[in-house]
């Protein structure tokens, strides 16, 4: 008690007043910032509930004075638009295998880097770190040729392979860092028991590495779902994901605003659900990926 009063007594009245207003000011400033950050998404959401006619003559903020203009029609139209619904399905068909494959292949390699000794291990690891920053542009032209030769250009398996390859350096790096933190005793115990490496991988590494694997999966899921460039090049009208389907409407921005805003919002829903449900893992992936 006495300690507290002493500490409080150190602050002059002027400091206390300043502190109070300082806090009030910080709160106020951050509320303004938060509003600024929310307005863009809010605008898109409200636009998606307005007709093209309304959207091309007045702003979404008129919704607050005339709520009657809100309508579900755009969503009804969008979900009966087969090009959009099939592209949504394509997105899922691309993202789920791409995520699973990156996790599996990345975990295998990550385990080898973390717990096995083999010649050239450190150099290979440095190579992985170098590949981490390679811009995917350097692979577009040759891989397009390669896929054409293999007959998978424009198909879903091709897109998946490309996503997996460019997701791997991050996956290996992240998982290796996590796997090395598994206590040595646990690994030794498993090896003494005579378990095969495969058995150790499935029974020890994967369960213990679950948090890191979850982080990686979320990250890879969002990255693949939100991709535009790879889909733009490696898919055609039948195999295109939702992002590519939406961008094809961009040419007439104003008159297509119903499809654009609604489609963009639909494409945001799944990543947002994933994000809000698993945001802790997502943040962990970012931290682990760049801090280590």
């Amino acid at each position: 008690m006495t300690d507290l009063t002493v500490v409080k007594g150190k602050r002059t009245p002027a400091q206390r007043v300043l502190g109070f207003f300082g806090k009030g000011f910080v709160n106020f400033a951050l509320i303004v910032v938060a509003l600024l950050w929310v307005i863009p998404s809010l605008g898109l959401l409200l636009t998606s509930f307005r007709t093209v006619g309304d959207s091309t003559t007045s702003g979404w903020w008129t919704v607050f004075s005339r709520p009657a203009q809100l309508t579900l029609q755009n969503y009804v139209d969008l979900l009966s638009n087969s090009a959009i619904t099939s592209s949504l399905l394509n997105s899922i068909l691309i993202v789920v295998p791409a995520t699973l494959l990156v996790v599996l292949v990345g975990a295998l390699a990550g385990y080898a880097f973390a717990w096995m000794s083999f010649p050239g291990r450190d150099w290979l690891l440095v190579a992985v770190i170098v590949l981490l920053a390679v811009p995917l542009q350097v692979a577009l032209i040759p891989v397009a040729r390669l896929f054409g030769w293999l007959g998978i250009f424009g198909s879903i398996p091709g897109v998946i392979l490309f996503h997996v390859a460019f997701g791997l350096p991050f996956a290996i790096f992240l998982l290796r860092n996590f796997f090395t933190q598994i206590p040595r005793e646990v690994m030794e115990a498993a090896r003494v028991d005579g378990a095969s490496e495969w058995r150790i991988f499935t029974r020890v590494i994967l369960p213990l590495g679950a948090p890191a694997i979850a982080s990686l999966a979320i990250f890879q899921f969002l990255w693949t779902w939100n991709d535009l460039l790879i889909g733009l090049i490696f898919t055609n009208a039948e195999s295109q994901p939702i992002t590519v389907a939406i961008q094809s409407q961009l040419r007439q921005f104003g008159s297509n605003i119903d499809v654009l805003s609604t489609g963009a919002f639909v494409s945001m829903v799944i990543p947002l659900i994933v994000f809000f449900a698993f945001q802790r893992y997502f943040v962990q992936a970012l931290l682990a990926g760049s801090n280590k």
Binding site: L44, L132, L168, A189, R191, N226, L250
Partner: protein, 452 residues
């Protein structure tokens, strides 16, 4: 503890009679099996393509003829690729610094509020959505029409709070009424002597500008010797009819218009305001002199208009802004976690010694935070160099050339109709070269952390 570990480590893995070298070879083979899928994928789809692109960049568009450095020369001499490179430089200078600074400010201020988790989620949320969706959002927000684009709606609202919008924007004189319009000013063609009249039949005014209770225009009463009189009215009868240049039944006066008499020296000698019926009387003029009667531009100035954000002038700024909207959250989260992992005892000690908050921040917190700031900054630079989606989505067709960046140009040249994969390869290699220094930084950092 250590002893047990060492003894267990010495225990042969399986088959106690295997020689050490054989078991080592076995372990290498097992490791290879675990690495194989990754090595095959990385080799075929990342490493081999890198080499191929490097070679391809020295061949012509069709890939049949070796042309040496020609593609690289083209890259720096063709207008569109040069704009792309210049814009990339602007991006790399502006975007990572802005994101890191904003993230730093947010992360430091987070400590002082109770709702920090909510704030973090709000700022970080754009990271989860696609750049395509973000692009659609920003293109909508920055539409030029203030009726549609929220940014210009705010700009116009702010502007009109400070400038008086004129009563009759866009008004024009009736043709062949002896009037001229120059730079917004409407004036008599010839000079007028005091004691005569000058009428101003105007058109091009929205009828709602007249107000709720318009008054029938009336001819001005006869002027005295030192006066000029006349009428300013809307020379237009709703529903048609009437004679141009004459005051007809149903034509309304324009009240509140300022009328100047301009002397031969170009100075305003006297002025007046029109009445409800549109009449005005300018008095106190020199009889015998001659004046031009003018309605100053302020009467007809257009109201505040929106800024053409999506035009060539502003487009790169707008696209960078959308990038900051997305990535400031990344910087904030990274820096905030660096702050929370920090031992605060140094700061407390400095505060007890009477250091100001600013000093504590610049002398202690910021230096301790430097490694995290470098990580954030380098990650952002690598990311910004290959920026594609936002630049592909936000600019409308006419602003695309001005907003160009290397990744978009690379796509356009090799896949989007340019049909020159030689030049495209050279652009891809340029991106790789630009990223190279930051790769080296990453490898160094990794090595340092391992040797610790």
């Amino acid at each position: 503890m250590t002893a047990t570990v060492e003894t267990t480590a010495a225990v042969p893995r399986e088959g106690g009679d295997a020689s050490p070298s054989r078991s080592r070879r076995r372990e290498s083979l097992v490791a290879l099996a675990f690495l194989a899928p990754a090595l095959v994928l990385l080799g075929a789809l990342v490493v081999y393509p890198m080499v191929y692109t490097g070679v391809r960049s020295f061949y012509n568009a069709s890939g049949e003829k070796f042309i040496g450095w020609d593609n690289y020369v083209t890259m720096f001499t063709s207008a569109s690729t040069f704009t792309a490179i210049r814009n990339n430089i602007i991006w790399v200078i502006v975007a990572p610094i802005s994101c890191t600074l904003i993230g730093l400010v947010f992360a430091v201020l987070l400590d002082k509020i109770r709702w920090s988790t909510a704030f973090k989620l709000i700022i970080f949320m754009p990271m989860a959505i696609s750049m395509l969706a973000a692009g659609v959002i920003f293109r909508g927000m920055f539409q030029e029409d203030p009726q549609i684009g929220v940014v210009n709606a705010a700009v116009v609202a702010a502007k009109s709070a400070f400038t008086n919008q004129s009563a009759y924007p866009g008004a024009k004189p009736r043709n062949e009424a002896g009037l001229v319009a120059e730079q917004g000013i409407i004036a008599t063609e010839s000079a007028v002597a005091p004691g005569s009249t000058a009428d101003f039949p105007l058109v091009g005014i929205r009828t709602d500008a007249l107000g709720d209770d318009p008054t029938q225009a009336a001819p001005a009463s006869g002027p005295a010797d030192d006066e000029v009189t006349g009428t300013v009215w809307l020379d237009f009868v709703r529903g048609g009819g009437g004679v141009n240049g004459q005051i007809d039944e149903g034509e309304m006066g324009l009240p509140g218009v300022r009328v100047d008499a301009v002397g031969e020296d170009g100075k305003v000698a006297a002025s007046a305001q029109t009445q409800a019926d549109g009449t005005y009387v300018i008095s106190g003029l020199e009889p015998g002199a001659s004046y031009r009667v003018a309605l100053p531009a302020a009467n007809f100035a257009e109201g505040a208009t929106g800024v053409p954000w999506l035009s060539a002038t502003f487009i790169t700024a707008v696209v960078i802004l959308s990038y900051i909207w997305i990535w400031a959250g990344f910087a904030m989260v990274m820096i905030a976690s660096g702050l929370s992992a920090m031992d605060r005892s140094l700061q407390e000690a400095a505060r007890v010694d009477g250091a100001t908050e600013w000093k504590v921040f610049t002398r202690i917190t910021a230096p301790l935070l430097a490694p995290v700031l470098v990580v954030v900054f380098v990650t952002l630079i690598i990311n910004v160099l290959k920026i594609f989606d936002l630049v592909y989505v936000i600019p409308p067709g006419n602003a695309k050339p001005a907003a160009n960046v290397i990744a978009v140009e690379m796509w356009t040249v090799s896949f989007g109709g340019g049909n020159d994969q030689g030049l495209g390869s050279a652009l891809a290699i340029l991106l790789l070269l630009l990223v190279l220094p930051f790769m080296i930084i990453n490898v160094r950092r990794f090595r340092e952390e391992r040797s610790r």
